[in-house]
Chain length 423, copies 2
């Protein structure tokens, strides 16, 4: 009998895991600099949270959720995205009352969507995201965008495109919504079933439709930018002014929309422009959601955030031919000959490790030659050979693999010697 990994999921094996760790370290370090702190919410939530927080007209909720009942009959869902749960926690833990406002949070972890698996798309994927809750300052919109760009750039990505848009405030969206209905209504029968259903529920999402993207009414559809009221226009201008101040290049694309009512003002996406990156070029999406906290049962609170997929980030790195500076190799491999030396080697390796040295030995009862090969495969910087002769003389033979230099070292000072040469 053999067992396989579930379809659409992947094992991250050691070599790959080192890349993940590197990316996570960079993301955490940038969050430290930007003063965002980590929050960890559960892998599953009550299903209602996503119906409300993601929106029950979205594809995610309608087709892609892993929903199940627990043994107590409660409907739970594996989280398909991160924002709803962070906002749930914000409300449940009354973070709107924290003296430090805005509350700046980040999260990192697996999300789950039952989609058709394809290149770069998994049913379990990892998102890193941030949420800044409690501020209505356009400077925080710019900060959130800058943080996302900084993560990509710190990893060496260059072929990036930042696209921004404004969805305006409630009043502006309402005006635009009516204009969209008026625009599409006369010929809505030429559109797909989904779009027909969207016309009155959520006409903005028609602009996002992949099936009808080439319909002529799409090109001529009213632009949200023409419906922004004074306040919304000023807000958007300030966001752009800050981005310029931060030296971040961007394009304004009025077709960049978000379907849900509580999204407003700033929306943005970061795309990879690397050649051969594939059809799905979006690496990161974010925006302002001033209505969401209230939707989840909290007081009126502005919010903005983004989420990015680590899998796509890795794909973008590959497309740009970037290899991350991951240190391979252990510091010291202790080769032992003979029963007594073998036992002694256990203690030596342990003593090295106590001093912060990455050390290894043989556990396969291998001959010296095979042990040396193993040391080589582990890219050991040093190999220390302990034979029976050495053991009797109280010494060990230390070889620097890069230079071939060899040195006999007293066992008493072996660990401190290794500490010195490795510094």
């Amino acid at each position: 009998m053999s067992f396989q990994i579930p379809r659409g999921t992947q094992d991250i094996l050691p070599e790959q895991a080192a890349k993940w760790q590197y990316i996570e370290r960079i993301a955490r370090e940038l969050c430290r600099r930007y003063n965002y702190q980590e929050i960890r919410t559960p892998i599953f939530e009550h299903t209602e949270l996503f119906l409300r927080g993601v929106g029950d007209t979205t594809d995610i909720v309608q087709k892609e959720m892993y929903t199940f009942e627990d043994r107590g009959g409660r409907s739970l869902t594996l989280r398909p995205e991160g924002t709803a749960a962070v906002v749930r926690s914000f409300v449940e833990n009354k973070m709107y009352g924290y003296p430090n406002q805005p509350v700046k949070l980040y999260y990192m972890g697996p999300m789950f969507r039952y989609e058709r698996p394809q290149a770069g798309r998994f049913r379990q994927f990892v998102q890193f995201g941030v949420e800044a809750l409690g501020s209505n300052d356009p400077a925080i919109d710019a900060e959130v965008i800058a943080l996302a760009m900084d993560i990509y750039r710190s990893l060496g990505l260059k072929k990036l495109k930042l696209v921004i848009n404004s969805l305006g405030d409630v009043e502006s969206r309402k005006a635009h919504r009516q204009a969209l209905i008026d625009h599409f209504q006369p010929r809505i029968h030429e559109f797909c079933d989904d779009c027909q259903a969207r016309l009155h529920k959520n006409p903005m999402r028609i602009l996002d439709c992949k099936k009808d993207r080439d319909h002529e009414l799409m090109r001529t559809a009213p632009s949200i930018l023409d419906y922004l009221n004074e306040q919304s226009r000023t807000y958007f201008e300030k966001v752009q002014m800050y981005l310029q101040k931060l030296g971040i290049a961007f394009e304004v694309d009025p077709r960049l929309v978000r379907g849900l009512d509580y999204y407003n003002h700033t929306a943005f996406e970061i795309m990879s422009e690397a050649e051969g990156f594939g059809a799905i070029t979006t690496l990161c999406g974010g925006g302002r959601y001033n209505g969401l906290v209230q939707e989840i049962g909290g007081p009126e609170t502005p919010g903005i955030g983004f989420a990015l997929s680590i899998e796509r980030l890795l794909a973008a790195l590959e497309a740009e031919g970037i290899s991350l500076p991951i240190s391979e190799g252990i510091d010291c491999y202790v080769v032992a000959l003979g029963e007594q030396a073998k036992e002694e080697a256990v203690a030596l390796v342990a003593a090295l490790r106590q001093e912060g040295i990455a050390a290894e030995k043989d556990y396969q009862d291998r001959k010296v030659k095979a042990q040396l090969k193993a040391a080589d495969r582990l890219h050991a910087a040093y190999v220390a050979i302990l034979g029976e002769d050495e053991l009797q003389k109280g010494v060990i033979n230390v070889k620097h693999m890069a230079t071939g230099e060899q040195q006999e070292v007293s066992l008493d000072i072996f660990v401190s010697h290794m500490k010195n040469v490795l510094q």
Copy 2:
């Protein structure tokens, strides 16, 4: 409408998350020294894997799994523990063919068991664990135990008890099994239903029963140690010899058992002896499982590992009154007065962050006094004040909060000045 976190799960809020990060860093650093590499497997697996790999007579499988069907009708289960999936990945990725043997892996992540929530017990909890696959050397048993102890000790825990036992090889277990049946059979009707069911399926698990622990037959039950054959005894002695060589104190407890057939030889647990730690004192459990890889469809491969819960580790730290050395506080808070200074502050904060400095500013349109308070709450090491006067003079006022020392610095060199003073 308000939304709550699912029962038995918890949000890890920023202050707590910093502790988790610290523990994870320590665990990763020790894995680096011990040459264990990370593997990440999915959150869910095909249910059959756990039926086989955890054992369909266990409480976990019978009562505690989160099992559900996906939209394709496959039975999936949120992983209740880590070993089965790591072994599944080992087999599926043919790691038994890797030139470096043993394959030394670690994992860290959420596990799920539907249990009655109680103090220190969650339905979603995080395990850190290691598996060393491919070696039958007692030295690797000692290494695995040493690594677990090292994690606890590196975090400052002192009140620990290490208990070890041997379950012997297949032959030894078989002899012991028969002795147990002979011992309990005559009075098995005095035991609980579970134990009666265990008598022929898995008599060793009777020794583990919490309900019948005080029955007199428990005290007089045959000890596995009396049934170890020559080879098993030698193996166990060597493990003990290595532990002594490593200076690791331990007790041998023949009642420490594992129910499943493919567990053999070394079994161990690490307990907290801190006062007031509560009823569940086990922090970490591990052992050898030479039959498991074959059970999951791979070639005969020895293996040993352990798993520890981060939640219990945190509880043990608290019980011993240990506070982790977590650095709080940002490096620099930029206070701005006036519209122009406010805009300039956005660029200054960004420039500081580019140089690795944790910097923050106000996003709430607060007055100077409130901004200073915010800086204080964020434990800023330095506060830099930019008013309209300063802006015109091209300077900024930098205050070291610990000493109260103040200095006017040219805006041109502000970032490099901050880099210097923060070093």
